[in-house]
């Protein structure tokens, strides 16, 4: 399975060009999944924490192509990361670094290979997709990579006490793993202290709460309304756990 996590837009002209490469170069029948194409374009840190939470729901052997890459065409490296039986391809701008830091076992390589005639601005199509397809096919030539002891940009393994994503319901995901927050704690955001609720239907209608969401992060929500709209939340806003 090849899993795409990008800021290419879900309904734009870029994805099909990437997929045409994958379909032609990956093994016949490889499943290609659109995990997210609206990752925040200029916030590799939020994307890194979101990817770290989401990857758990995909099977061992998955190949992730993760591209949020405002520095494309500049000096940043392109990398391959192997972490706990999954492989990741993307820019060395921190986006893969939370997965790497939390993995039991991680190896990293710089991509040396350059495509003939590769565009300056679309390495998703011209570099990352061919590499991801080769990995899925099990035929990535060794000389296309160079082992590197560590990523250049590293955000570390710690949780991020910020909003990292707002979903289309208006729920605000944080970079806090819920298993580390006691259910008796309050979560402070936008000047308010929110109590825990197990599920939407257990919160009173219209009131804000926090809960452990389906990818095991602390999430800010309102029963029957958009938390992001009501509290004017956006990616990058700070949150705090108050015992």
């Amino acid at each position: 399975m090849i899993v795409l996590f990008t800021d290419f837009g879900a309904h734009d002209i870029y994805l099909a060009q990437v997929k045409a490469v994958l379909v032609q170069q990956a093994p016949r029948g490889t499943s290609i999944q659109d995990l997210l194409h609206t990752a925040p374009s200029f916030n590799a840190r939020a994307g890194a924490h979101l990817l770290a939470a989401l990857q758990a729901w995909f099977p061992a052997g998955s190949v992730f192509m993760a591209v949020v890459d405002p520095g494309v065409g500049g000096a940043r490296d392109a990398i391959v990361l192997e972490a706990d039986e999954k492989t990741y391809v993307g820019p060395d701008n921190g986006l893969l670094s939370v997965v790497a830091a939390r993995a039991g076992r991680a190896h990293t390589w710089r991509i040396l290979w350059r495509a003939q005639d590769q565009s300056a601005s679309f390495h998703g199509r011209d570099v990352f997709a061919p590499i991801a397809a080769s990995i899925a096919a099990g035929n990535l030539a060794k000389e296309r990579l160079e082992h590197t002891p560590a990523l250049s940009v590293r955000f570390g393994a710690d949780d991020l006490a910020e909003i990292i994503y707002v979903d289309h319901y208006g729920n605000a995901l944080t970079g806090l793993r819920a298993g580390r927050v006691p259910l008796t704690a309050k979560v402070e955001v936008a000047g308010r202290r929110l109590d825990y609720a197990r599920v939407f239907s257990e919160a009173s209608s219209g009131s804000a709460f926090w809960y452990e969401n389906s990818v095991r992060l602390v999430e800010i929500a309102v029963n029957g309304a958009s938390a992001a709209q009501l509290m004017e939340l956006r990616v990058g806003d700070s949150v705090a756990v108050v015992p």
Copy 2:
């Protein structure tokens, strides 16, 4: 073919998690189709009428996973419906009830099975997708279901004289089946009485009309513009047929 009809959002983090389950558990090569992921989140009745119209365009043997489920994690049951050679999986909140009521032959079951570690808020991934995959594979264990004589929430077989969906062109679909409305009738909506036109290019530019749309519902449209914007139409607005 597995057909997805949800309010999960077309470009959010939820769909790929559902599809990862389906790809792993359904028979290799099963086609997975995104019918709609922007069904109105809090209007199971509109969704039920829309699904009843749309399902006709998918082949016998299709398995529909239909999830508009604000009560997830609460007391509502999860159900399987067999209706006229197609199967439907979803919450027992009325969403499947119009299909059931209009079917020549329908059988319903409550889903007893619970996944280990299932999330409180994402039964699409943790309950409905594994059940849909098992049905597509023809290996759903009998003990996971319990036959039930009827759904708990039933909207009935009758047409719904309301707007049930507004498409991206701004056309407003109603819950009225066009075969039951004479072409000489007018359709009243937002204080206006609209005449029939066969097709957009037969209506004068900028004028509102009703027509039999491609899924055989009465639809309100304007040639060359957004009917929803011009007449401020939204899901739930009443319509009336005037002879």
Copy 3:
């Protein structure tokens, strides 16, 4: 590979109906790619130039179903175009005419076939998809087509000095092929004269520039912001090359 280029909307009720036809009628395992579903609905000329640039990134043998079709149900013909080892199916309203005019070798046919019970408004599902599937399967019956020496609506092979698409980053693609514009030239748009930059990270932050984009068109962009928003650009706006 079947490639879809339409204005059906990326998250609406139409695409899955088209794909259900393709999945049932095209050869098992045929890849179906969503190239674009937000093509401008009332601008076949812009769509024609965009399609002509994008098709180059798909392999020989691809079958394109291209539908921007405000005249559906009226008098316009439906056509099949073979151009340089790729095939295109769509309305005869100019949308395929730039591909045809630029091809080394092109042949065109009118589609005579009509589906039983075909809808007046959704030829994508009822006409173009079955024809595209037959072409992909290599079994399109000759009597369904009639050779025609030329398309009815022809926009010609020349470049179009207009904005033809605004992507989700706010970058504005023009109908100018970059290979024909010297890097020393300025591009004039919205009353401003823009210099060339090779890549975003080589333009100063917040400043507008033009560059050769990844499909080899002249594109207007701003490093770190939306060019379309900052300069109020939209599809159809004129651009000029100033030596």
